[in-house]
Assembly symmetry: C2
Homo-oligomer: 200 residues x 2
DNA sequence: GAGTTATGTAAGCGCTGTAAACATGAGAGG
DNA sequence: CCTCTCATGTTTACAGCGCTTACATAACTC
C-alpha cells in the first residue's frame, strides 16, 4: 500500500513486517523465523530475502515501525504538551505501549541498534528529539538533554520492570498512579534547579 | 568445584554455565547455542541436556548467576549503606555492571522470568529484597517498596539507555555524574515526603 | 563381582538461516 | 505486437540448530 507495490505479491516488504509483528505478539520473540513470516505472507521460504538481507534486518524493520508507532502513541496522549501534567500523560502512554505490545517493545530494545539499519537508527533519533522537545516545552529553563534523559530512563525502567512482572500491573489506574508519583518526584526537583544537572 | 563433581567431566553443569557466559559476551546472544556450549566444554553435543532440559533452562541458569553476581557487585560498592551517598554508589555499581557485562545483563532482562526456573525467580526476589532493604536503611521513614521500585526503575532505565548507546558512556566519570544527578533529584523529594507515594 | 543409577555418546528428525540457480511477469524500445 | 530486461518470487540444497531416542560407560551399593 505504501512503497513498491503490485508486482507479484503486491507489497511483500510491508507484508513481512506485518507478519513478523503478529508472530512476535502471538508466539514470542523465539518463534519469529523468516520461514514462518514467509508462510504467513503466503510466499516461498526465501522470498523475504529479496527485501531483507538477513533476519536481523527484518527485526530492525519491525523495531523501526515500533518506534514510529510509539511516537504516534505519545503524540496521541497529548499533541502539544506544555505542563508537567501533560508530560505525565505521555509517560503513562509510554509504559502503556510497552504493556500493550510487550514482544514488540522487547524487540525494540533487546539488542543494540547502532550497527543495524539506518532506518532503525533514524527512528530512535527522532524519538529522542521528540522527547527532548517535549521536556524543553514543559521546562524551558532546564537542561532539556539531561532532564529528558533522566525522565526517559525512569519511564523506560518502569516499563521494563512492569514487563518483567516486578511491579503491580493489575489495572491501568495502578500503573498510571505509579508513574505519576515517580515522574512528579523527579521533575519537581528538576524544575527548581537552575540548569545543567550533569557534566557532559 | 562446587556441587556434583568428579564423574566423567567433573562438573559439566557449572562448565556449561561458564561456557555460555563466555559465548554470550564474545559473540552475543544470538550465537549462544547448546552445541557451541558443548563444544567449548569439550563434551558431545547432547551432553548438556543431562543438566538442562532445554536451552531456556541454561539461559535461566546463566541469568541466575548474573543476578547473584550483580548482588555481590552492589554489596561490594558499599557493604552497609546508610546515607544517600552510599545509595548513589550502589546505583553507579548497578549501571557499571550492565556496561561491563552487556550480554549477560540483557540475558537477565531480555525475557520474562516468571515461568522460568525457580532458581532464577528466587535470585530476582533476593535482589528485590536487597534493594528494598537498602532503601529502608537510607530512608527509614519512606515507603521502602515504592521508593525502591522508583529508584530501581530509574537506574535500570539508565542502564538500558547506556546499553543502547543513547547516553554518553565515554568515561566512567560521566556515567557516574549522570546517575548521581538523576538519583539525587529523585530521592531529594522522596525523603521530604511523609510516606506512601503510591496507591497499591 | 552384580545391579542400579548417574552421566556422557551416537544417530536421527524437523526446523532454521542462507546461498545458489531458475522461473515469472511487468515495463521499455522497437 | 514482439522482445528484451530486470525486479520479484521459486526451487533446490546445505550446514547448523534444538531436541528425542537408544545406547554406552563409570561410579556407588551391596
Amino acid at each position: 500500500m505504501s512503497q513498491a507495490a503490485a508486482y507479484h505479491h503486491g507489497d511483500l516488504a510491508a507484508a513481512c513486517v506485518q507478519a513478523a509483528r503478529e508472530l512476535l505478539e502471538e508466539d514470542g520473540s523465539a518463534a519469529l523465523s523468516l520461514r514462518a513470516v514467509a508462510r504467513r505472507a503466503g510466499v516461498s521460504a526465501t522470498a523475504p530475502y529479496r527485501h531483507y538481507p538477513d533476519r536481523e534486518s527484518l527485526v530492525s524493520a519491525v523495531a523501526a515501525q515500533g518506534y514510529r508507532e510509539l511516537a504516534e502513541d505519545l503524540a496521541g496522549a497529548h499533541p502539544s504538551p506544555t505542563t508537567p501534567e501533560d508530560l505525565i500523560a505521555i509517560a503513562v502512554a509510554y509504559v502503556r505501549f510497552a504493556l500493550d505490545h510487550p514482544a514488540l517493545f522487547r524487540a525494540m530494545f533487546a539488542e543494540p541498534c547502532d550497527p543495524s539499519s539506518a532506518d532503525r537508527v533514524s527512528a530512535t533519533a527522532a524519538l529522542t528529539e521528540y522527547v527532548q522537545g517535549i521536556v524543553h516545552a514543559v521546562f524551558p529553563e532546564a537542561d532539556a538533554a539531561a532532564l529528558s534523559t533522566t525522565v526517559w530512563a525512569l519511564v523506560h525502567g518502569l516499563a521494563f520492570l512492569h514487563l518483567d512482572g516486578k511491579l503491580d500491573s493489575s489495572t491501568p489506574e495502578v500503573v498510571a498512579a505509579q508513574i505519576r508519583a515517580a515522574v512528579e518526584a523527579l521533575f519537581t526537583v528538576a524544575a527548581s534547579l537552575p540548569a545543567s544537572t550533569r557534566s557532559a
